[in-house]
C-alpha cells in the first residue's frame, strides 16, 4: 500500500476540526469531551458516589483493557467516539430508535446511545472494530460483502453487531434474523440482502 492510503477521511476531518478549534479558542479552554451543553457540574456528591466530574472507568473494549476517566452523564456512545476515538458505532437518532450505535455488551446487542459509559464498568464491549481479527474480516463481514448487504453503509456497523449477536445460535431461520434487525433502521432498504448474508454466515460458521 502507498503512503497515500494512510490519510483517512476521518483523520483528515479530525485534523481540520482540531486546527479550526484551536484557532478559535483561548489557550485556557480545553476541547469539549461531550457534545452536550457543557454546563458547570453540580458540587461533588458524598462518599461512595461517582461523579459528577470524570470518574475512573475500567472495561474491556474489543479484547483490550481500557481505563478511562469519564463523567457519569456521558453515554457509552459519546465515550467510545469522543474519548476513545472508536467511531464504528454511529450517532444518528441518539434515542435508541435507529440502531446505528449498536454494540455488544457481554455478547448482548445494546444501543450505546441509551446507556451510560459507566454502565459497562467491568464488562466486555465489542464494536464493529472488534469483529475482524488481525486485519482479516469476520465470516459475517465477508458475507455482507458477498451479498451486497449495504448501500450507503451508515447503518452497517450497527447492523453487523445485531447480526453478530445472532450467530452461534443453532437453527437460525429467516424470521430470527428479521426479528433481530428490527431495531436497525436501513434507509437504503438493504434488509433482504442482510438477511441472506446472515443466513449464509451462519451456515459458514456452523
Amino acid at each position: 500500500m502507498s503512503d497515500r492510503a494512510r490519510i483517512t477521511r476521518r483523520g483528515l476531518f479530525r485534523g481540520i476540526g482540531t486546527a479550526g478549534l484551536l484557532a478559535g479558542c483561548k489557550p485556557s479552554e480545553r476541547p469539549p469531551t461531550t457534545t452536550e451543553d457543557g454546563e458547570q457540574p453540580p458540587p461533588a456528591g458524598s462518599a461512595g458516589a461517582l461523579g459528577p466530574g470524570p470518574s475512573p472507568l475500567e472495561f474491556t473494549l474489543n479484547g483490550q483493557r481500557q481505563v478511562a476517566e469519564v463523567a457519569p452523564h456521558v453515554t457509552l456512545l459519546a465515550a467510545l467516539r469522543e474519548q476513545l476515538r472508536v467511531t464504528g458505532p454511529k450517532v444518528v437518532c441518539d434515542r435508541g430508535a435507529c440502531g446505528a450505535c449498536t454494540v455488544l455488551v457481554d455478547g448482548v446487542a445494546r444501543n450505546s446511545c441509551m446507556m451510560l459509559a459507566h454502565d459497562v464498568d467491568g464488562a466486555a464491549v465489542t464494536t464493529v472494530e472488534g469483529l475482524s481479527q488481525g486485519g482479516k474480516l469476520s465470516v459475517l463481514q465477508e458475507a455482507f460483502i458477498r451479498h451486497d448487504a449495504l448501500q450507503c453503509g451508515f447503518c452497517t456497523s450497527g447492523m453487523l453487531m445485531s447480526c453478530q449477536a445472532l450467530l452461534g445460535r443453532t437453527q437460525l431461520e429467516r424470521e430470527d434474523v428479521e426479528a433481530a434487525i428490527a431495531g436497525n433502521l436501513c434507509r437504503c432498504g438493504t434488509y433482504p440482502n442482510v438477511v441472506a448474508a446472515v443466513l449464509d454466515a451462519a451456515k459458514g460458521s456452523a
Partner: protein, 334 residues
C-alpha cells in the same frame, strides 16, 4: 444531559436512604431507557441517579426473579423485556405477557428495558416530552392535546389530561390479574389497577408510588389448565413504534364457554383500560364471532374522541375482535 452523580447501593435500605435524602433531585434507575430519554430531551435533570441493578440483598434477588412462585408466577422489576419475550414458562395461560413484552420497542431496547421501568415510564405525549412546553403534567393550566395535535391521545377516560398510558406490559398484566409488590418504609402488595392514577385523581402523576418506594415484582395468580390469554397491538410501523391501540384478553375456556374473562385496551386511555362492559358481554357465554363483535362494540361505547383520533374506535374494536378470536380459537369471519 446535565452532569449528575451515580450511586450504586447494595441494599434496598441504602437505595431508599439515597432516594429519601434528595427526593426532589434524586431518581431511581433500572434500565434507564425512559430516564435517559427524558434527560436528553431536557425535561428531567436529576442531580443523582440511584442504580437499582446492583442491589445484592433479598429485594435485589426478587427484583431479578422470573419463574414459579407459590402456585402462581413472579416477574421481578429488573427482568428485561427480552427475558420476558424469551421465557418459556408462560404457556398459553399467560401468553399475553410474553407477546406484549416481545412487541414493545426494538430487540436492542428490549435487552435493556425492564418490567419496572416499562410500568413506571412517563407518558410519551409529544407535548409532555417537549422541553419548551408547559403542559398540565408539568404544572401548566391545560392539557395541550385538547386543542392541539391529538392523533395519538386518549379516547376513553380522558380529562383533564388526555395522555395514553405508555406501558405495554401494564395492559397484559392487568388482563392477567397481576399484583405488584412495592417496598418502601413498609412492604405492600396491591392489585395492578391500584398502581395507576387517572388524571382526575392526579393529573401530574401516573402511579401511586411514594418517593423512596420501589416496585419489586409483579405476581401472577394461579392459572387453571383451561386459562388462555393473548395480546396484540396496531402500530404505524411494525418495529419501534408506539401502539395506536392494544388489546389484551384473558379467559378460561371450557367446551367453548368463556368464564373469568378480562378485556383490557391499551393506548386508548390514561390508564390500562379494563372494559367491564366487554367482559360482561362475554362472561359465561359460548365464544362466537357475533358475540365478539358485540363485546368490541360495548368496549368502545363510551369513547369520546378528540379532533384527530376517532380512527381509534374502529381500530380498537377490530383489534379486540382479532385477539378474542385468536385466544378463543374461533376462526375469523370472511
Amino acid at each position: 444531559m446535565r452532569p449528575f452523580v451515580i450511586r450504586r447501593p447494595k441494599s434496598l435500605d441504602e437505595a431508599q436512604d439515597a432516594a429519601r435524602e434528595r427526593p426532589q433531585d434524586g431518581v431511581l434507575r433500572a434500565g434507564g431507557i425512559d430516564l435517559i430519554d427524558r434527560m436528553k430531551e431536557g425535561i428531567d435533570a436529576p442531580a443523582e441517579l440511584v442504580e437499582l441493578r446492583g442491589l445484592a440483598d433479598e429485594t435485589g434477588e426478587l427484583m431479578r426473579a422470573l419463574g414459579p412462585a407459590g402456585d402462581g408466577m413472579q416477574v421481578g422489576a429488573l427482568v428485561t423485556l427480552a427475558q420476558l419475550a424469551a421465557h418459556e414458562g408462560f404457556g398459553a395461560a399467560r401468553a399475553a405477557l410474553r407477546e406484549a413484552a416481545g412487541s414493545a420497542a426494538t430487540p436492542t431496547i428490549r435487552n435493556a428495558a425492564t418490567l419496572g421501568g416499562n410500568l413506571l415510564q412517563r407518558p410519551r405525549c409529544w407535548y409532555f416530552r417537549h422541553a419548551d412546553l408547559v403542559c398540565l403534567k408539568k404544572g401548566g393550566t391545560a392539557c395541550l392535546a385538547v386543542s392541539g395535535e391529538n392523533k395519538f391521545h386518549a379516547i376513553l377516560g380522558g380529562g383533564p389530561s388526555f395522555i395514553v398510558h405508555p406501558s405495554t406490559l401494564a395492559c397484559a398484566l392487568t388482563a392477567l390479574d397481576a399484583q405488584v409488590e412495592v417496598r418502601g418504609a413498609e412492604a405492600r402488595t396491591i392489585a395492578i389497577g391500584e398502581l395507576f392514577l387517572t388524571p382526575k385523581q392526579d393529573a401530574r402523576r401516573e402511579h401511586t408510588l411514594e418517593p423512596g418506594e420501589v416496585l419489586v415484582r409483579a405476581i401472577l395468580p394461579k392459572a387453571g389448565d383451561d386459562q388462555r390469554s393473548g395480546y396484540a397491538a396496531v402500530k404505524e410501523k411494525q418495529s419501534h413504534d408506539w401502539p395506536m391501540a392494544e388489546a389484551a384478553v384473558k379467559m378460561s375456556l371450557q367446551s367453548g364457554v368463556m368464564t373469568d374473562v378480562r378485556v383490557v385496551l391499551g393506548h386508548v386511555a390514561p390508564i390500562p383500560w379494563r372494559s367491564r362492559e366487554a367482559e360482561a358481554a362475554l362472561e359465561g357465554k359460548p365464544a362466537s364471532a357475533a358475540l365478539f363483535a358485540e363485546a368490541a362494540k360495548a368496549a368502545l361505547a363510551e369513547a369520546r374522541p378528540l379532533r384527530d383520533n376517532a380512527y381509534k374506535i374502529p381500530l380498537a374494536q377490530g383489534l379486540l375482535r382479532e385477539v378474542l378470536h385468536r385466544v378463543a380459537g374461533v376462526p375469523l369471519p370472511e
